[in-house]
Symmetry: C2
Subunit: 298 residues, 2 copies
């Protein structure tokens, strides 16, 4: 395969195969965060998200929006594991001429969110760069009993999402609320079998959950909550940057959640055996394969 044609998944698998870790690493490459042995009843969670000018934001995006989004993306990863964020480290590459004004704006956006979710910003690195680059690394923790991986979905689980999908890149991606509150509510009250955050589009992230769990799935077009920001239904399926939670619950638990009257979560389908693949049922009851078309870096 020529190097230009390689997929993101292929690249990640290439990296994973080269790596051997010791037994204190509960989960390495391949989930929303790494999971490390920590104390008797807690794991440590650890994630990093790199945002690059021209890819994740434009040269015209206000610095405070970049700061907000940089932390929000990592917070979303912690939420996806059923965890609580604790500490952040911020690496910044910025053009020299912009440095002071950028830093003021960037940190006003980032610290607003850090205070809201009680994240300690404990350091980082500062470098000059032609284009703006931000990498936020976040440490969190999760009760061992409440940790949720993307690999635990079971056949007949109900698939749910935490909010509306599509059209985020028209603006919502710069001010979304990471679903930490929703995640805590779920793991404190329900048996969540699998979870991740929809960062690259429902179709792609659902395929990751299914691949991680060794299962298939079916989702129903009429059940998928489409954001008013989306221009059409395909944007709810395939557009990235939603940062909603996608998770699976055993049938009884899903019934209990829906009956609870909590309007924040919508059932969109169910987990099926792997050999059935991943299908979407249209409004006129036709099944078709759901291709993983979300945002891929490579």
């Amino acid at each position: 395969m020529p190097s230009g044609k390689v997929s993101e998944l292929d690249l990640i698998q290439r990296i994973s195969r080269k790596i051997k870790n010791d037994s204190s690493v509960i989960r390495g490459i391949g989930d929303d965060t790494a999971v490390l042995e920590y104390s008797r009843d807690k794991y440590q969670l650890w994630t990093a998200d790199m945002l690059i000018e021209g890819v994740d934001f434009t040269s015209g995006t206000p610095a405070k929006d970049i700061g907000y989004k940089a932390l929000a993306c990592s917070l979303s990863d912690i939420a996806a594991m059923g965890g609580i964020p604790r500490y952040g480290l911020v690496s910044l590459g910025i053009p020299k001429a912009k440095a002071r004004a950028f830093i003021d704006g960037f940190y006003s956006g980032l610290l607003k969110l850090a205070r809201r979710f009680r994240v300690n910003i404990v350091g980082g690195d500062l470098s000059h760069s032609d284009k703006i680059v931000v990498d936020v690394s976040l440490i969190g923790e999760a009760d061992k009993k409440k940790l949720v991986l993307r690999s635990g979905a079971k056949v007949n689980d109900i698939l749910l999402v935490s909010g509306e999908l599509g059209g985020s890149i028209y603006g919502r991606h710069l001010r979304f609320t990471p679903r930490l509150k929703e995640s805590a509510y779920l793991v404190n009250n329900y048996k969540v079998n699998a979870m991740l955050d929809i960062s690259d589009g429902l179709s792609l992230d659902l395929s990751r959950l299914c691949q991680g769990s060794g299962v298939g799935a079916v989702v129903y077009e009429e059940l998928i909550p489409v954001s008013k920001d989306a221009k059409d239904f395909s944007e709810a399926l395939d557009m990235g940057e939603d940062f909603e939670l996608l998770f699976s619950l055993p049938l009884n638990e899903a019934r209990r959640l829906i009956k609870s009257g909590n309007k924040g979560f919508k059932a969109i389908g169910e987990i099926r055996p792997r050999q059935e693949g991943i299908k979407i049922i249209s409004r006129n009851c036709k099944a078709r394969e759901l291709a993983a078309k979300g945002y891929q870096h490579f």
Copy 2:
């Protein structure tokens, strides 16, 4: 002050002033790593280093050298605190066309060093980018009794370095050995009052140690070990990328270290009261102020 004229220290101080952390943060912004409460007898150390094409390496630098250096810089920060590295997270921004070949080379260099120092690589982020950007975040740990900050130097301490200085950017910076072994030897056998790694040049990093400790210093030209790579003496003083340890020991401890016959460490001067500033004594016994001229990003 126009934003183009702002110094790195000024920028870091601007950031620090905006941040409030809880009591589990033993040391936030301002040392080689953050220091976090961990267990009864250990702290957790946490650092990130961002390397950018055109700043820290060129477009012609082999991928394996970039991988090696990216991890080595962070390992050097852990060494500077008297710590042991445990876990690494790697964020990479790379041009699409180069992705596969770059990743193979990058990880062969990085993993060679990770295996040598038993670092678990547990995840990261992969993004496309016009220029190569690497951010390695590293978690380590330190015995509470052995942690060394840059802020503990005392008047009359002896100043020492772990190796030869200058000329690293002509090649050594891509294959230097992080001083973890030396650091462990020091903190296990001596009372080290202050330490940091010389990443931006002796004169600048000495000024950081003195500022952090509220002291002055005097160093002797004839005692400073100059690398054969250095073109002249000024490169040993002011050129970045040495990644040697600069540390201070009480006089008796320094005597004991020198008497031990360990050739890896050289005394270069001593800590003086703050009001005496930072001086260098030339070979003909003239004192002059040692200006902090090392590498500054801003």
